[in-house]
Amino acid sequence: MKSDQGFFGRFGGSYIPEILHASQRELVAAWEEASVDADFLALVDREMQQYSGRPTPLTPCPNLSRTLGGAQVYLKREDLNHSGAHKMNNVIGQGLLVKRMGKKRIIAETGAGQHGVASALIAARLGLDCTVYMGARDIERQYPNVFWMKQLGATVVPVTSGAQTLRDALDEALRDWSSDPSGSHYLIGTACGPAPYPEMVAQFQSVIGREVRTQSLEQFGALPDRIYACVGGGSNAAGILLPFVDDAAVELVGIEAGGRGQAPGEHSIRLSDGLGSPGIAQGFATMFLQDDQGQLMETHSVAAGLDYVGVSPILAHLAETGRVRMSAAGDDETLSAFRTLLRHEGVIPALESAHAVAGALREIPKLSPEQRVVINISGRGDKDIFNVASALQDPEFNGFLQRYLEREAQA
């Protein structure tokens, strides 16, 4: 989706400190050139195939469809990307752009660590230095991802300010970029931030929706009737939904994290129920969760990847125009949907993606068996075993860890 000088309706823009201005203009120019260069786009496609395993399948779910009794259910399997999530699409695209620009160092922010791992992977493959900012609290919660980033050669910097989560890591990444604007590239992980990031990241991710279009026509001879995606920063949703924006018959649905309830700090619902409001922060204008003084608020989700205070300006715009219908799924409903998908289809979604499943499960029984629904499984859940085991309150997991530590101490 093309922006109007960096804006999508009243959202987007580039609200950055003056020190970053020249670098940001350089990036806009590089992206404008690369985005219409057939050789560059072919290089990105090739790397997505050869390194990440694309195209990812569109998997029919006969058991789930039978049980629900409504529409036919299909899953878009972004979980089968290298690194286990759609994040790989973006880092391949931006990584190759960094090489094209001749920069040698990337900076990334990460919440749960998926984007941090994806950035570290592409940095290793392309021979780039990589520094990842991660909230100290997130590091505590997601050490396995930190372990892999370090093994891959990235420098992981704990961020101890504020709530010590994704938002603080993003601020810190901007500060790093300010100290080396011409030598470093800020490889932002979602379709947020100043222009051209929202448009550029959405473009790299839109391979998801383009594949769904081709696969739908091949597998059932029509476009899907409805598509569901979870919405944190919004990159997987932008990726699967944007290629269908002009197909009026395809209903587009975004599912935010309803968390534990609608009290401040208990959820990450920016685009429905009137909980978010327009603001300008972290380099761009969008709908934020904020108080009456314009201070950004704390957020919560059982899925760390949805736990973000802002949202892609592209989705804020499409939600405002009504083209994307927004809804939310809470922690409990999400865990129940997670279990349902495991038992019926043998697919383990990331907890983020399980929100999209929850939103879909609620509505599918009301549809007719002739209709087809696609749910974006943006990532896989098996590698988040610590968080999933904790969320599911598995009775054996903690005992296993205790015994593991005892064995390691004796070894």
């Binding site: 400190p17 970053l20 300010s161 500060r175 604007p181 300008i280 922060a281 003084q293 314009g294």
Partner: protein, 257 residues
């Protein structure tokens, strides 16, 4: 010539270099921050930069970042801040107050009504690091109507053509960021400022204020003759954290020899 520029040029006749000192409103409490502002004005600083805290100050280093987060625990409001500034500007007519924050608190208040309300509180200008000139149309015209100056920043990364554009649009003074990075201690690789400031001087006759990493008398002395105003932010805050208001008074009194 704007009232702010006139004030600066008048005061420059008595002093080779003016001081702009920075305080975070609400840190460690609203009352203590106001007492610190009064101390600074009592020592004779010409310009006071008051930062209304924001949760995500992406151009600030650790000192100011932490002060903002602590200040927010006290739930400060911009309306109360403006009322406090009205008292301060009445009590210290020989100095000028600039209000600094990030865009979002100002945006929530209303970018079109803020300049008028601020002017009524005796505020002379705004510093908004994440508002670039090209996206500031409505705010600039509201400032113009209210006779308050939006202060624009220049940096060592700003290309010459953009410097010219910013200088052409600027009123009051120019905020010349001395180096890359965020506010606070530098990494020791201070770049020589002479060429940078001389370059800016070719584009504008406005007073030049220099900030980022300035914290002692030697640095202020080095700016004398090359800039009009030395800005101290994190240096003031670090002195306050180390030795309270007395340490800040000592620091400021030492700055101009």
């Amino acid at each position: 010539m704007s009232a702010l520029q006139h004030f600066i040029e008048t005061r420059r006749k008595d002093s080779e270099i003016l001081l702009m000192t920075h305080v975070v409103y609400g840190y460690p409490t609203v009352d203590e921050s106001l007492a610190l502002m009064r101390d600074l004005l009592d020592t004779g600083v010409e310009l006071l930069e008051v930062q209304f805290p924001f949760s995500d100050p992406s151009a600030d280093g650790p000192s100011i970042l932490n002060a903002c987060h602590e200040a927010l625990e006290n739930k400060p409001t911009l309306s109360a801040c403006l009322e406090d500034m009205a008292k301060l500007s009445r009590d210290y007519p020989d100095s000028r107050i600039l209000l600094m924050s990030y865009l979002n608190p100002f945006y929530r208040y209303g970018l079109e009504r803020l300049p008028k309300d601020a002017a009524q509180s005796g505020i002379s200008g705004f510093i908004v690091p994440d508002l670039p000139l090209e996206l500031a149309g409505a705010f600039r015209s509201a400032c113009n109507d209210a006779d308050v100056e939006p202060v624009w920043m220049l940096t060592p990364e700003t290309p010459a053509s953009r410097m010219q554009d910013i200088c052409a649009a600027a009123t009051g003074l120019l905020y010349c960021v001395s180096r890359r990075g965020v506010t606070g201690k530098s990494d020791g690789n201070a770049q020589p400022l002479d060429d940078y400031l001389a370059g800016i001087r070719t584009y504008t006759d406005l007073p030049l204020a220099v900030g980022f990493g300035i914290r002692d008398a030697a640095q202020v002395a080095a700016l004398t003759g090359k800039a009009d105003i030395a800005i101290l932010g994190s240096g003031i805050l670090d002195a306050f954290n180390a030795g309270g208001r007395a340490a800040v008074r000592d620091l400021v009194q030492s700055l101009r020899g």
